[in-house]
């Protein structure tokens, strides 16, 4: 046994004679597990509290908002024009479900890597860890596409949320004439505010997100900031000058019936709750950071395993078990991120 341990780096900390005394304290290890695994559990516990803090603040802010963007509407895009195969060019939750599958499957391959490690099967460990790395990297790629789409095409930032939600029933005004139309505004429905003059590829002159009535088909929105009969383009300041820094979002106007007086009141599409962007990018970003870190550590341990470092340690590839715990935790956090951002 000892002749295989002739260098320092390949000996697990708890296998070193001088440390072994500190940790063993007798015949048994505390909780019959190694120092490394136990401390990984406590690190994950502390990380769980960090994520819980973020997710609970998300919940508190969501409860404090009169409306919240409907996820089916916000997350309805997919790469390669896959969403165009669906009604209204919207593929609700399809892409993010695919992302979830990637993470779940990579969790399963990680369990296989740990099992092969317990059998001291080097080739098996390397093979299954490689699949896990591919799954994790695929997830990160998907998240990069999702973020790019939200930022570049849908103009969402940490402070601007173009996904608003109607809180009243009513009818749109015709954008050209400002007359009420038959086009309905439905309470609880989420719309995306578009930026004037930007083409998004699809039926884009339609910030309401619903089909246009016949007469409005040839209408195009002005790109000059100002207050028009049926819509408002952002950027006009109170003194009549145009703020060059503000994005010219188009807000359509609609009429609702006032509950008390019964009069028709004109409303303008508002931005959605401004905390949405910060919460979304903050929390999915923090999770993505964990995935990225996980992929890096998986790669390091994969290379170590491949070069035989853990063969010499003869502890059933415990390092693979430890990174496995971390990787499952990342999957576990995604269960809750997926729940609150995409499902509810």
């Amino acid at each position: 046994m000892t002749e295989e341990r002739d260098t320092d780096i390949i000996i697990a900390e708890d296998q070193k004679p001088e440390l072994n005394n500190d940790w063993s304290g007798g015949d048994r290890k505390p909780f019959r597990t190694s120092y490394g695994k136990l401390m990984m559990w406590y690190f994950l516990l502390s990380d769980a509290f960090t994520f819980a803090g973020f997710l609970i603040s998300y919940g508190a802010l969501r409860f404090s908002s009169p409306s919240w963007p409907v996820p089916d509407k916000v997350f309805a895009t997919a790469p390669f024009g896959i969403n165009e195969l669906f009604p209204n060019n919207e593929a609700p939750l399809i892409f993010v479900t695919f992302m979830s599958f990637l993470l779940i499957i990579s969790s399963g391959t990680m369990v296989r890597a740990v099992q092969e490690g317990a059998r001291e099967n080097k080739r098996g460990v390397v093979f299954w860890m490689l699949l896990t790395v591919i799954g994790g990297a695929g997830f990160l790629g998907c998240q990069a596409w999702e973020w790019t789409n939200l930022i570049v095409r849908e103009n969402m930032t940490v402070t601007t949320n173009p996904f608003g939600t109607y809180t009243e029933n009513g009818f749109y005004l015709d954008p050209e004439t400002g007359e009420p139309t038959e086009e309905e505004v439905v309470e609880g429905e989420t719309y995306l505010l578009h930026v004037a003059g930007e083409s998004h590829g699809e039926e884009e002159a339609d910030p309401g997100g619903t089909q246009h009535t016949a007469g409005a088909d040839h209408f195009s929105y002005s790109t000059t900031p100002g207050d028009y009969p049926g819509y408002v383009v952002d950027g006009l300041q109170a003194d009549g000058t145009v703020n060059p820094d503000s994005k010219p979002f188009i807000h359509r106007k609609y009429v609702v019936t006032d509950e008390l007086s019964g009069d028709l009141v004109v409303r303008t599409q508002e931005f959605g709750p401004s905390a949405f962007g910060a919460l979304f990018f903050g929390i999915t970003g923090f999770h993505g950071f964990h995935v990225a870190t996980g992929v890096i550590f998986l790669l390091i341990i994969l290379i170590n395993a491949g070069s035989g470092v853990y063969v010499a340690r003869m502890n059933g590839y415990e390092m693979v078990e430890k990174i496995g715990l971390y990787w499952h935790f990342v999957d576990l956090v995604w269960v809750f991120v997926f729940l609150v951002f995409y499902l509810l």
Binding site: G59, A60, S64, D72, L93, T97, F101, S107, G108, V335
Partner: protein, 138 residues
Amino acid sequence: MAQHLSYEESKSAVWKGLGLLAAVTVAEVLLSLLKAAEFAESIRPLIYVASLAIIGLSVYKAYFIIYEFMHMGYEVKGLAMTVLLPTMLLIWALIAFFNEGDAWREKREKVLYKNSLQVPQGGDVGLAHDVLRLELDC
């Protein structure tokens, strides 16, 4: 997965577990789409039932990942308890902060409502000095 299973058994248990997690995820997405479907808008209880079912399924997924994939079910009880019991603190955090968020919304709505109220005019109140006093108070 655990030591008490043979290698072949634990291998197939992984794929069964994966299938289970995938099926639960698909069920969650279908429930989520159902509650956002147009016909569901008029049926409020459906939205609550579907949401609760989704939360329940997610908690089940979390339990399965921790107990099977992370092997917590096969660790010493003391280890499991030192990791799991502290998370019980979060139950109170959930109740407290969600209540707090709800209270913020109510307060904001109250402020908006109060702001929309008009100061009574002389004719409505009847006495001219009432208007004067209201103006002074403001």
